[in-house]
């Protein structure tokens, strides 16, 4: 256990570094990151993924330990002055941060284990730079929620952004789409970074100190608070993939190597939500209602748009990425509701809504990591992500199919899945809000409920498609027909994630105390939000539900029903294998099956006005007669409408701006020197005038 090494590393500031579990594990994170990078640089290509993966998994486990310790009530504060010039590094893990540290840690551990198996057989990234970036990314991911000062947060944030960019670009040599995805990601994540930077710097300038304690103590003017919140919301929103800042997400998450996709989609996007909670609720302490109605609206739009795109997507990983947009939308919807209730004097409901949002972060991390790893297994086995070319994997990859089904159950928010529990909490908080606040709430809540409901319904459609078309029925291509089951490490990782999902689904009350602590840390109102043993009880609301009992009851009913039919059917009636019913005309080929596209067609037609799909039909007639059709091709694609409507004009403007470049920089050295000269003199002039 490299914790010992962690000891003398932490020696930099042993003076005020209390020796606790959290301290040791955070130190271990730092050390393991170093070890991982070292391993990536020195070890040979074959062995590289194993060492790096082990180090990353270690980081994940350490993070998990730290988070759980923080959630069980331990406090941790540390100041490492020597580590960062001028300001030094401040770390603090409170239950709120601990929640996110734990989530990231768990996801990282599983994904790293998965990555070891994934890299076997020449799959996945094994290049030096990529492998070196992985532990750095992991460490930044785990440490970012532990930052207790603006400067520390920003440094870790940028570190995370750069490392993840390297990881996303891992396969850019083989596929041009990767480069494009990386480009989108780089632009949007840095625009977001700038927004966060501006917001927090304004805030800390006003507060006169950059540690979170200073910020909490400060009392900026309402106008400034509003500006800060909007800037920060834009920044963190772009990280969480809120519409219309989501454009990078479906590209990057689909094009990144699958273990990385899992980390991005299950761990990194959460930090967007963390940032909004930390700054909006904790530091700024609630603020005014319109902030949260804005958050609510953004969340609702993201949830609907994301799941609509997912429902019509034919690319498995793209579908999962859009479902991430949807789930982040639901989380932000919960945050918005929480803020709205808090600002209209209903703290209990606010706590409930926030608890729902946090629990959904956890549940989403569980099933989305599982789904992405399973999808990665499919991609590794078949070489395609196109649902229209998959199918029949139930027989070829039975374990992966079952694991994907577990994840899909959670993602479709059906009982007894883990997604259902958090959406149930969310709905409870929304439903009981009706008598609470005034007309605004009364108009907003039904809309919110309707959005959540429609989202749930469309999620069912999307994941029935993903599972039924992608894994069931018969193979639609040779690649799918010759698929082979994933190697044990991958299955083990998926198994861990699936176990977590099942646990969360059946015993959500187990995380009740931790959840209550996290919520208390965010709202400064410590109270138990959800309790109860077998059945889920809420503070102040009569609604109860017990996923465990539901699952047991359904199982019992199935067994009873099976026995009863056995008895009723008597001695006869042995199940017999028969050919498919083909209306008498020859066995149906696999090309006669419904594809993902045809499955989604009715939905696409219903939401025509929103999605604006592009269809084109080209008919090639026979040579002898124009009336005889030789070939007919029908193509339909659903482009991301926001991207077309919003980003195309911006890109055009940027291009026009770029044309100025040659004019200013025409290659003459004198002109460049002149720029410098005039710059300096101008600056001096300004100083002279102002002073």
């Amino acid at each position: 256990m490299p914790a010992g090494a962690g000891g003398d590393r932490g020696g930099v500031a042993r003076a005020d570094l209390p020796v606790t579990v959290i301290g040791w594990s955070l130190a271990a994170v730092a050390v393991l990151a170093g070890v991982g990078v070292l391993a990536a640089l020195v070890t040979p290509r074959r062995a590289r993924p194993v060492f790096v993966g082990a180090a990353t998994a270690g980081i994940g486990v350490a993070g998990l330990v730290a988070g759980v310790a923080a959630l069980s009530g331990q406090a941790f504060q540390a100041r490492l002055p020597g580590l960062l010039p001028l300001v030094g590094v401040r770390l603090e893990v409170d239950p709120l941060g601990g929640w996110f540290v734990a989530v990231s840690g768990g996801v990282l551990a599983a994904a790293a284990l998965y990555g070891i198996g994934y890299a076997g057989g020449g799959h996945g990234p094994s290049g030096r730079s990529t492998q070196a970036a992985l532990p750095v990314f992991a460490a930044a991911l785990v440490l970012a929620p532990a930052a207790a000062a603006v400067s520390t947060l920003l440094v870790l944030w940028e570190l995370m952004a750069l490392a993840s960019l390297v990881l996303i670009l891992a396969e850019h040599r083989t596929r041009p789409a990767v480069a494009e995805a990386g480009w989108w990601y780089a632009v949007l994540t840095h625009a977001g970074f700038v927004a966060i930077l501006l917001g927090l710097v304004l805030y800390s300038a006003d507060a006169g100190g950059d540690s979170f304690t200073d910020l909490r103590a400060a009392h900026p003017s309402p106008a400034l608070r509003g500006v800060v919140f909007v800037l920060v919301l834009a920044g963190f929103g772009s990280k969480a993939g809120l519409v219309p800042l989501h454009v990078w997400l479906p590209r990057a998450h689909a094009e990144a190597p699958s273990p990385v996709s899992a980390i991005l989609s299950a761990a990194m996007v959460n930090l967007g939500a963390y940032g909004v909670i930390r700054v909006g609720l904790d530091l700024l302490g609630g603020g005014s209602r319109w902030w949260w109605l804005l958050v609510l609206a953004l969340g609702a739009v993201s949830a609907l748009y994301g799941i609509l795109q997912a429902a019509v997507a034919a690319d498995l990983k793209r579908l999962l990425a859009y479902s991430t947009v949807e789930n982040m939308g639901l989380v932000f919807l919960g945050l918005g509701a929480a803020g709205t209730f808090a600002t209209s004097g209903a703290p209990a409901l606010a706590a409930l809504a926030l608890a729902a949002a946090l629990l959904h972060v956890l549940n989403h991390a569980g099933f989305k990591a599982l789904l992405f790893t399973a999808a990665g297994g499919v991609l590794r086995a078949t070489g395609t992500r196109d649902l229209d070319a998959l199918g029949g994997l139930r027989t070829r990859m039975p374990a992966t199919t079952v694991l994907f089904a577990v994840g899909a159950l959670g993602a479709a928010a059906l009982p007894p899945g883990n997604g259902f529990v958090s959406e149930w909490l969310l709905l409870q908080s929304l439903v009981h809000a009706l008598p609470a606040g005034g007309a605004v709430v009364a108009v907003a809540m039904p809309v919110a409920v309707a959005v959540v409901a429609l989202t749930a319904g469309l999620a069912v459609a999307a994941f029935v498609k993903a599972l039924g078309v992608g894994f069931f029925a018969r193979p639609r291509s040779g690649a799918a027909a010759s698929a082979r089951e994933s190697p044990p490490p991958m299955l083990a990782a998926m198994g861990l994630l699936a176990a977590a999902c099942v646990g969360l689904a059946l015993a959500p009350t187990a995380v009740g105390p931790a959840l209550s602590r996290a919520v208390g840390a965010a709202t400064h109102h410590p109270a138990t939000v959800i309790g109860g043993g077998v059945s889920l009880r809420l503070a102040g609301i009569a609604g109860t539900m017990s996923p465990l009992l539901i699952a047991v009851a359904v199982l019992v009913a199935i067994v009873v029903c099976a026995l009863a039919t056995r008895l009723a059917s008597g001695r006869v009636a042995r199940r017999r294998a028969v050919p498919l019913w083909d209306c008498g005309a020859g066995p149906p080929t696999s090309r006669m099956q419904y594809t993902a596209t045809s499955f989604a067609e009715p939905l696409q037609r219903v939401f025509d006005d929103v999605l604006a799909p592009e269809t084109d039909v080209d008919v090639t007639p026979h040579t002898e007669s124009a009336y005889l059709v030789a070939r007919m091709a029908y193509r339909v694609r659903v482009p991301d409408r926001v991207e077309h409507a919003l980003y195309a004009p911006i890109g055009a403007a940027a291009r026009r701006l770029g044309r100025l470049g040659p004019v200013l920089a025409n290659g003459s050295v004198h002109r460049y020197l002149a720029y410098g000269f005039f710059g300096v003199t101008g600056l001096l002039l300004v100083l002279a005038v102002t002073r």
Partner: protein
């Protein structure tokens, strides 16, 4: 109390299982009479089921556990629903297990398993049916949950028994616009969920117009019997739920003495509703699939109006 409640719940399940096919038979009989026919009698669905249970189930080439499991899961979820919804007694021991949201979720779970089974067969009709079914399911969800919101807003709880007993205690509430609108919205939703006219035609032979039927074309014998039974159970549970929510009179509490009365009331109410639905189906034709969203949007409007009234008339 618990023993009595347990008995009541078991009676509930037994009544639903045995009575559901009879309800279907009753609706068919009403339609037959209105069409000037004699009709096969209300026992006919049970005769069909008895015969189907004795016949061999088939597992077509290429189908696997999703196809095999779906009928059992359908009946399983339906019987759990029959146990948790307060049809005869509000004192179900399982009441804390599932509230209205969970009930909606279990209904959706049943639909989804059948859709997955249909996709598992890999036939064109199966895929078509599954695609249409989940589309309608997705569009129905908002109406249901918003109507639930309208119902539970005043009670302050989404637990079924609480809603029912609150309605029992002040009957005037039933006639309030909020609950009437909610009732209308939920009725449309129930029709869509159970695949009756004008959304789906349960008696069609034309594959291209099918929704629910298209998904079960490959089932035979015992499996088919289970699917049919589950469909009938879902119909009667949903109709029963409607009656419990909007005309709950006669529902027993914890004491067994009330149970026979409750049973009679339940049977009468559901039978009346079934007869009304069956008769109405004689007068209407199936909607085009792409006109169905209009119907569901209409029901959604009704639900939203219900919420608005239920909130604003509180003032």
């Amino acid at each position: 109390m618990n023993g009595a409640a347990l008995i009541a719940t078991t009676v509930q399940v037994v009544v639903v299982v045995t009575g559901a096919p009879v309800l279907v038979g009753l609706m068919r009989q009403v339609q037959a009479r209105l069409e000037g026919r004699a009709g096969a009698g209300i026992g006919q669905p049970w005769r069909d089921l008895r015969k189907l249970l004795r016949r061999a189930p088939a597992s077509p080439t290429g189908t696997g556990w999703p196809f095999r499991l779906a009928p059992l899961l359908l009946v399983g979820t339906s019987s759990v629903l029959a146990a948790v919804t307060p049809l005869l007694s509000t004192a179900s021991p399982l009441d804390h297990t599932a509230d209205l949201f969970a009930v909606v979720g279990l209904l959706a779970l049943g639909t989804v398993t059948l859709a997955l089974a249909a996709l598992d067969t890999g036939t064109a009709f199966g895929g078509m049916g599954a695609s249409r079914e989940v589309t309608i399911l997705a569009l129905v969800e908002p109406t249901i949950l918003v109507a639930v919101l309208a119902l539970s807003a005043r009670v302050g709880s989404t637990n079924l028994s609480e809603i029912v007993s609150t309605t029992l205690h002040d009957p005037l509430r039933v006639a309030s616009p909020a609950s009437l609108l909610a009732a209308a919205a939920l009725l449309i939703v129930v029709i869509a969920e159970t695949g009756r006219l004008p959304v789906d035609n349960p008696a069609t032979h034309l594959e291209l117009t099918m929704i629910h039927e298209a998904m079960i074309l490959e089932y035979a014998g015992r499996d088919l019997a289970l699917v049919e039974l589950a469909a009938a159970m879902r119909l009667s549970i949903l109709l029963g739920l409607l009656t419990s929510l909007f005309v709950p009179w006669g529902i027993a509490g914890a004491d067994l003495a009330m149970l026979p009365l409750a049973l009679a009331a339940f049977v009468a109410k559901v039978a009346a509703l079934g007869v009304a639905l069956g008769a109405a189906e004689v007068f209407i034709a199936k909607l085009r699939l792409f006109r169905v969203p209009e119907l569901l949007a209409g029901s959604f409007v009704l639900a939203v109006l219900a919420v608005a009234t239920s909130f604003f008339f509180l003032a």
